[in-house]
Structure formats: structure tokens, C-alpha cells
């Protein structure tokens, strides 16, 4: 990249709490944030635990007009959207860019060019909330069998008129764009678990080609919903160790049984280094390179040899100009699903070559569960905090590390962080892979 791109703001809502520090602290202390599902009654499902985001203030730090907008429109925002716009707001506020005076008619961020402020979101399919359809379905049945004729005549008129807007996967970008007057390039990437890091990849490309001066990269998803849990159960992706919530998600552990579903959103604010330096911004780190790939092994599996992960990692390292032996840590996806974990470690082993036995590999899913599109960005945000310890924290619940992993999994206690170069990876089942190499700025 010709333009050096740095991270100047971070926002994170994870099951561990509000902010990168909350996740960093939970990871440092090995404290699981997984518990019984409370967002709905999970009794009918084989998997009944999740990483849920604790209550958060959706308008914290916002201008009054923004706060009004968020509150007024909450009813047309699915949980995924609410989480994402809150994480985005936290990242933007974290940059220290001054807010304009709304009463004086100032723009929301008067020191930047709003036409050159863009946003890229990693998002997903947003399933309907069941209650939204309850009354219309009853009306359509009219005492008998459900029929499409009955739905057309009696069901549709009972629906919330803005129902569709609540669930469109591009509404995170729509609302965040309105709230922050971001008129630059905007995209909504639907790449499942890899969505967050792919959003980072695209945001950096847009900055590099000069189409924007400030970019937000955000990934957010809520998998703690009846429809998503249903799918995960049908597809055998989730653990059923409901009675041992804290130890249920076991990345790279011999006894791993699958994901714990989770929710969360992570956002990074990006700008060129010269602009950040000129305004005296706090620089958390620099994005050195990103890489994207895909599996070709099948739409419901991952490649056993890890070639799709290796491809993304190799591309990111090459773009960064970083040799694997210069990496201080790898933030693996590690969602604790056998096929996904094994593909990832095989890919890392292959891409890192001889360095694979040295570079510490850690993962945070043991703490949070699988936050989907928030993955990767959440790990980076937490690591930018953890790097100050000079240590790479261990993988929670990885008690008996997969002996065939072929990489240096951090278990038991932390390992030293020998370099400021951090690699983050994510891989979606049946789909996209992504990786990013960043340099942590410990002199901030």
C-alpha cells in the first residue's frame, strides 16, 4: 500500500462487555463470558448456551440529535444492526475527532471531509424475529390451515409496515452513514465469519486508492436468535455441553464439540498515517497488509489441508512484506468446530512454514463464543490492548491442544510477545477466508 494506514479508533461490544479493554481483561484472566441463553427461551434446542452482550448504552457519547435518531429508530433495527452501529459509534468517538455543535448547525465531525468518509460493514443474513410474524400468521390461518391465499389477504395487512427494513443486511451502513454523515464509499459484505476482516481489507483498499480519507471497518452479528440457533443445530455446528457453559467452547482442544453462538460487533477507524500524525491522534497500530481467499472443498465444509486459510495468510503476509518469523502472535479464529479449527491450523502451519512451531497462536472464542462477522476485528481490538502486557494470552479451554495442529498453541499460561507484528485470521465454513497483518504501536 502506498498510503500507510493506521488504526486510530476502536469500538467493541462483546460478551465480555463494552470496549476492547473488557475483552482484553476477560482473556487475560481466562474468564468465560458464555452462559445460558437469556435472549429467548432456548429449552427446545439441543444447544442452549451463548455469549450474550451485557446491557449497553446505545447512545453513549453521542450528540443529542444522534441519540434521538438511535432511540427513535430502534424499532426498525434488528439486534445485529443495533450492536454494529453502537460499536461504530464507539470507534468514531475513540478517535478523538471533535463533535460539531448540533445547535450551531455544525456537521457531526467538522474537522473531516464527510464526502470522503466511508464505511464498510461485515454483516450477515438477518433472520426475522418470530413475534413479528405471530399475529399475521394467526390472521392468515383464520381458524384453519395456513395458506398463501390467507396470508395475502389477511396476513400481510397485520405486518409491521417497515418490517423489511429491520432486517436488510445493508441497514447497518445506512443508519451509521446517516448518524455520522459518512457520504463516501459504503459497502455491506456478507462473508459470514470472515466478514469483519474482509471489511478491513476493503476499507484499506479504498483508502489506498485514494477514494476516501477516513474509513470505518466494522463487523457485527447476533447469532443468539431462534432462527440462527435452529440452523446451527440442524447443521451440527454447535456444542450441546449446556451444563458446562464456561468450558463449552474449546478452540483447538481435543475435546472440542463445536461453536457456542454469540453476538457482538467490532469496529476500527482507519486513516492515513500522515493525517493521523497531523492531528496528533492516538495511533493504536498500522494495517500492514490483508489477504482474502475461499475454500473450494464444498459449501458446508472446510479444506482439510487448510489451503484457503494458507492463501489468505500468505497474501496478507506478502502485502505486508512481513516474514512469518517476524510475527509476534497469531490471533486465530478458532471457533472450536472440528473441521473449521483443523483447516485453520493446517493452513497456518503451511503458510508460516518453519516459523509455525515458534509463533504463539492464541484465540478468544473460549471466552466469547463465535460472534460471526465481529470475529477477527474483535480479536485485533483486544490484542491492541493486550500487547501492552508484552504477552500473548493463552487460549481459554484449550486444555489438551490438538496434537496434530502443527502450530504453537498458547495454553496454560501466556507466552512473550516477541514482535509487534500481529496476524489475525478468520475462515467461514464453506466460504471465505481472510487475514490481516498489523503492527501494534506500543509507544502511544
Amino acid at each position: 500500500m502506498d498510503r500507510r494506514i493506521v488504526i486510530t479508533g476502536m469500538g467493541l461490544l462483546s460478551p465480555a462487555g463494552d470496549g476492547p479493554e473488557a475483552l482484553a481483561e476477560a482473556v487475560r484472566n481466562g474468564r468465560s463470558a458464555v452462559g445460558p441463553i437469556t435472549r429467548f427461551d432456548p429449552a427446545g434446542f439441543p444447544s442452549r448456551i451463548a455469549g450474550e452482550v451485557p446491557e449497553f448504552d446505545p447512545v453513549e457519547g453521542l450528540r443529542k440529535d444522534q441519540g434521538r435518531y438511535v432511540k427513535k429508530n430502534a424499532k426498525v433495527m434488528a439486534r445485529d444492526i443495533q450492536l454494529a452501529i453502537a460499536a461504530a459509534a464507539r470507534a468514531i468517538l475513540d478517535t478523538g475527532l471533535p463533535l460539531g455543535d448540533a445547535k450551531a448547525g455544525e456537521p457531526v465531525l467538522p474537522t473531516i471531509d464527510h464526502a470522503r468518509f466511508g464505511m464498510i460493514f461485515g454483516t450477515s443474513f438477518l433472520p426475522t424475529e418470530l413475534d413479528d410474524l405471530a399475529v399475521p400468521v394467526q390472521a392468515a390461518r383464520a381458524g384453519g390451515e395456513f395458506s398463501l391465499a390467507g396470508w395475502g389477504e389477511h396476513g400481510i395487512p397485520q405486518m409491521f409496515p417497515l418490517w423489511l427494513l429491520k432486517y436488510l443486511p445493508n441497514m447497518h451502513a445506512c443508519h451509521a452513514g446517516i448518524l455520522w454523515d459518512a457520504q463516501g464509499p459504503s459497502n455491506s459484505l456478507t462473508c459470514s465469519d470472515a466478514g469483519g476482516l474482509i471489511a478491513l481489507d476493503e476499507a484499506c483498499r479504498i483508502l489506498a486508492r485514494g477514494d476516501a480519507d477516513t474509513m470505518l471497518a466494522c463487523g457485527g452479528e447476533c447469532r443468539v436468535s431462534p432462527v440462527v440457533v435452529l440452523r446451527c443445530c440442524l447443521l451440527d455446528r454447535v456444542t450441546t455441553s449446556n451444563d458446562e457453559a464456561a468450558s463449552a467452547c474449546r478452540p483447538f482442544d481435543e475435546a472440542r464439540q463445536g461453536w457456542v453462538v454469540a453476538e457482538g460487533a467490532a469496529a476500527l477507524m482507519l486513516e492515513p498515517l500522515d493525517a493521523a500524525q497531523a492531528r496528533g491522534a492516538t495511533v493504536y497500530g498500522e494495517v500492514l497488509g490483508t489477504g482474502v481467499g475461499t475454500t473450494t472443498a464444498g459449501v458446508n465444509t472446510c479444506d482439510e489441508d487448510g489451503r484457503s486459510v494458507a492463501a489468505a495468510v500468505g497474501r496478507a503476509l506478502q502485502a505486508a512484506g512481513v516474514d512469518p518469523s517476524d510475527l509476534g502472535a497469531v490471533l486465530a479464529h478458532g471457533p472450536a468446530l472440528d473441521v473449521q479449527d483443523r483447516s485453520e491450523t493446517a493452513g497456518l502451519a503451511s503458510a508460516l512454514g518453519p516459523a509455525a512451531r515458534q509463533v504463539p497462536v492464541t484465540a478468544t472464542k473460549g471466552v466469547t463464543g463465535n460472534m460471526g462477522a465481529a470475529s477477527g476485528l474483535a480479536d485485533l481490538a483486544a490484542m491492541l490492548v493486550l500487547a501492552e502486557d508484552g504477552q500473548v494470552p493463552p487460549i481459554l479451554n484449550c486444555d489438551r491442544p490438538d496434537t496434530e495442529a502443527g502450530v504453537n498453541l498458547v495454553t496454560g499460561g501466556p507466552q512473550p510477545l516477541a514482535s509487534d507484528h500481529i496476524l489475525a485470521t478468520t475462515n467461514a465454513i464453506g466460504g471465505q477466508t481472510a487475514a490481516a497483518v498489523i503492527r501494534v504501536n506500543r509507544q502511544r
Binding site: D131, V137, M159, F160, E202, G293
Partner: protein, 430 residues
């Protein structure tokens, strides 16, 4: 693969012949819905387009369209059809290249919700107070839902299927910026090639929202036209005074984008050149477009600048032209803002008058018509433009295609929710 035909040539000839793809909905029983018509792709056999059609049993229409369109695009690009077993495709393709440098970028809609099972499970879980017991829901849904059919609803499934079908190991992306998605996909795919991240990109869009919840959602927003039920081909009326919303379409268009030297080296036929791409956001309101067309103007402006062209060098604009009151009025303003005095001289048309609105697949399909317009020196018409809206006072090529010199075209897509994308495509001049 679109409502006007299962091939590029057939749909193009039908478009120029003024035919409409809009018919009463036959995909599902829609007779009591506020909207009873759409532009649908006739049923087709997937087996000529894929190695194993049985593997697509639970796939949605979006995936089926994508597989068919991609197969046609890949063959048209001069790559041999697959003959070998799973995973053995690309190395045998003519021209020899690195599968790791063949990527995918789709503007891709979600799959089709299993509506009847969903509502059955909801009905079985509904309590006296009209809330849904998830326990009752789960009991029915776990028993009746098909796991693969659920998986196929994920919006990245078309891209995933294509990567697996053709062994494409390059960078893969899937985006869903509503109606702008495939224009954005093509623009970003071109950027990846320019950056050297790939030599080839399969780029385009696929979507069908012609299913009970899709039609319900748009009817609730009063975004789609409901009349005239007896003559549905007259319902999509971009820029006409009597316009009353868009008509849902479905389908897929796929393009193979290739780095020029790579294409030259293998002697590929070149259809055209992606000259410029612009992306912006309205950042205005959730349901309304900025009244002065700020966002659309910004994406058009950026695409022109990237192409290094003056407005007068654009010979044809493929409009977003949905046929909603708001869009067509604001789009007219935005074109005037960017093109100045030339705005009233450049031919502009909306093929949505015949094809309906393919949502995530609309942009790629419209870019294809631009490329064909350059080849045949003719621009398609805006049909049903009988009574032009005085607020839409540009040259919208009413009702008859026009023979005219066409070297450079702009294709515009403005997404619901405010994401705007513009592409400039030109004849390739060696």
C-alpha cells in the same frame, strides 16, 4: 439468465424487440397479494450448467441462476467446460492460468426462506397472547426444516458454490448493498485486478426476491407496483407520470473480468473495458433519497473522474430508473447536476421497464446491456413511457430502441438504504 431469456443474445434481442418479462407470479400462489405479478425466469434444467445438479436440490433460485450465468460467462471467456471430476476443472481450462489468481466478487442476494415451514413452526409456537414460544417453534422447526435448505439461504452461498464448482481459489467476496450490489461488486472486482490481487475475477450478481416474504416486504413499503393486474407488462413505468413503483425481477448476470495483458496473452475475446467506478452513500434518511440527489451525483462524478472522462464523452446512461416516484425524479436531478447542459442530450434508459428490478443482480445485468449497446450501436428503450413526467425531462429513449453511436456508457445503481454505485464501461481500443 433473466426474465427475457436464458442467454445473453436471447435476452438482448427480446429487450430490443420491446418484449416484457413481466407476467402473473407463477412461482408461488400470489393471487391475493397486493402485487400479483413479477418478471420471472422460466423454469430451467440446471444440469447443463453444473457437474452434479443433484448437489443443488436445496439451493435457492439465486444459486441456480448464478450457476447458469457463471457457466455461460466462463465458457464465453474461452475457458473449456469442465470434463473432470470434482475440483479438476481449472487446470484443464484452455489458456492455462493460476486458479489462486481467479477470484470472485458477487453482489448476491439471500436465498429463499422456507416460508411454509417457518410459518408452521411459528403457528405451532404461538401463545394466547400472540407471542411465540421458542420451545413450540423449535419443536416443529427442528423436525421439519431441511438443514441444507437453511444453509442455502446464506447470502454468500452463490459465491461459495461458484468457488467450489470451478475451483476458484482467488480472493472471494460477497456483498449485499440492496439494488446497488452487483455494480459495486464489478467495481471492486476491477479494483482487485488493478491492485494485482488477481488476474481474473468472476463478478456479477444474482438474486430473487420473488417469494412470499420478499413480495410481502416490498408491498408493505409500498415500493412495488400493484397495477394493472390485467396487463402487468405495463406496470413498470420509469420516468412516466403514471409510475407507481418498481416490479420485482430475478436472475443473474456474470462477467469475467481480466487484466488486459493476461487477456491478450491468451488471445481472449474482449467485450469492453471497465473504465471507471464510483461509490458513495446518501447518508440522508432511511427511506428517502437526498432531495438533490447528492449521493447518486457523487458516485457518477467519481466514476467519471476515475475514467478520466468529461461528461460529454458518455454516449449512453443506463439509468437506475426503478419507476418509483422518488427515484426517477431525484435521479433526473442528479444526472443534471453531474452532466450539466449535456444532461438533456445524452440518451438515458431504464431496462427495468422490461426486465423488472433484479435487485442485487440489477447492476450487472444493466452493465451487460451497456456492453451490448456498444457492440450493436443501439440503445434499449424505456418502455411504457407514454406520458413523461415533467420532472423527468431528459432524453429517456421512450418506447423504441435507438440506433446511435455508442462508445462509452455509464451504468447507475442506487441502493435502497442509500448506497450508490456507478460504472463507466467503454469499447476496448487496443
Amino acid at each position: 439468465m433473466n426474465p427475457l431469456g436464458p442467454t445473453v443474445e436471447e435476452s438482448w434481442q427480446n429487450l430490443l424487440a420491446g418484449k416484457s418479462g413481466i407476467r402473473p407470479i407463477f412461482i408461488f400462489e400470489a393471487s391475493t397479494f397486493p402485487t400479483t405479478f413479477a418478471a420471472q425466469v422460466p423454469d430451467f434444467d440446471l444440469s447443463p450448467y453444473v457437474r452434479d445438479a443433484a448437489a443443488f436440490e436445496q439451493a435457492g433460485r439465486n444459486v441456480r441462476f448464478a450457476m447458469a450465468a457463471a457457466r455461460m460467462a466462463i465458457e464465453d471467456a474461452g475457458f473449456a467446460a469442465h470434463t473432470g471430476p470434482y475440483g479438476g476443472v481449472l487446470p484443464r481450462m484452455a489458456g492455462g492460468f493460476d486458479p489462486a489468481r481467479f477470484g470472485i466478487y458477487l453482489g448476491s442476494g439471500e436465498g429463499i426462506v422456507d416460508f411454509i415451514t417457518l410459518v408452521t413452526a411459528i403457528a405451532n409456537g404461538t401463545r394466547a397472547d400472540n407471542t411465540v414460544s421458542t420451545v413450540g417453534f423449535a419443536e416443529t422447526a427442528l423436525r421439519q426444516c431441511n438443514a441444507m435448505r437453511e444453509l442455502e439461504q446464506e447470502p454468500n452461498m452463490p459465491a461459495n458454490h461458484l468457488a467450489c464448482e470451478y475451483g476458484l481459489e482467488g480472493p472471494a467476496y460477497s456483498c449485499l448493498t440492496a439494488c446497488a450490489a452487483s455494480t459495486q461488486a464489478i467495481g471492486e472486482a476491477a479494483d482487485l485486478i488493478r491492485l494485482g490481487r488477481a488476474d481474473l475475477m468472476l463478478a456479477g450478481g444474482t438474486h430473487s426476491m420473488i417469494h412470499p416474504l420478499g413480495v410481502t416486504g416490498f408491498n408493505l413499503l409500498t415500493a412495488i407496483s400493484t397495477e394493472p393486474k390485467a396487463e402487468p407488462w405495463r406496470a413498470s413505468r420509469p420516468f412516466d407520470r403514471g409510475r407507481a413503483g418498481f416490479v420485482l425481477g430475478e436472475g443473474s448476470t456474470m462477467l469475467v473480468l481480466e487484466e488486459l495483458e493476461h487477456a491478450r496473452a491468451r488471445g481472449a475475446k474482449i467485450w469492453g473495458e471497465i473504465a471507471g467506478y464510483g461509490s458513495s452513500a446518501d447518508a440522508y434518511r432511511m427511506t428517502d433519497i437526498h432531495p438533490e440527489g447528492r449521493g447518486p451525483a457523487a458516485s457518477m462524478q467519481m466514476a467519471l473522474e476515475k475514467a478520466g472522462l468529461r461528461p460529454e464523452e458518455i454516449d449512453y446512461i443506463s439509468a437506475h430508473g426503478t419507476g418509483t416516484t422518488e427515484n426517477d425524479k431525484v435521479e433526473t436531478l442528479a444526472v443534471k447536476l453531474v452532466f450539466g447542459e449535456y444532461a438533456c442530450k445524452v440518451p438515458i434508459s431504464s431496462v427495468k421497464s422490461q426486465l423488472g428490478h433484479l435487485i442485487a443482480a440489477a447492476g450487472a445485468t444493466e452493465l451487460m446491456t451497456c456492453i451490448l449497446a456498444i457492440r450493436d450501436q443501439i440503445v434499449p428503450a424505456t418502455m411504457n413511457l407514454d406520458d413523461p413526467d415533467p420532472l423527468c425531462d431528459l432524453d429517456y429513449v421512450p418506447n423504441t430502441p435507438r440506433k446511435t453511436p455508442v462508445e462509452v456508457c455509464m451504468s447507475n445503481s442506487f441502493g435502497f438504504g442509500g448506497q450508490n454505485d456507478s460504472l463507466v464501461v467503454r469499447r476496448f481500443v487496443p
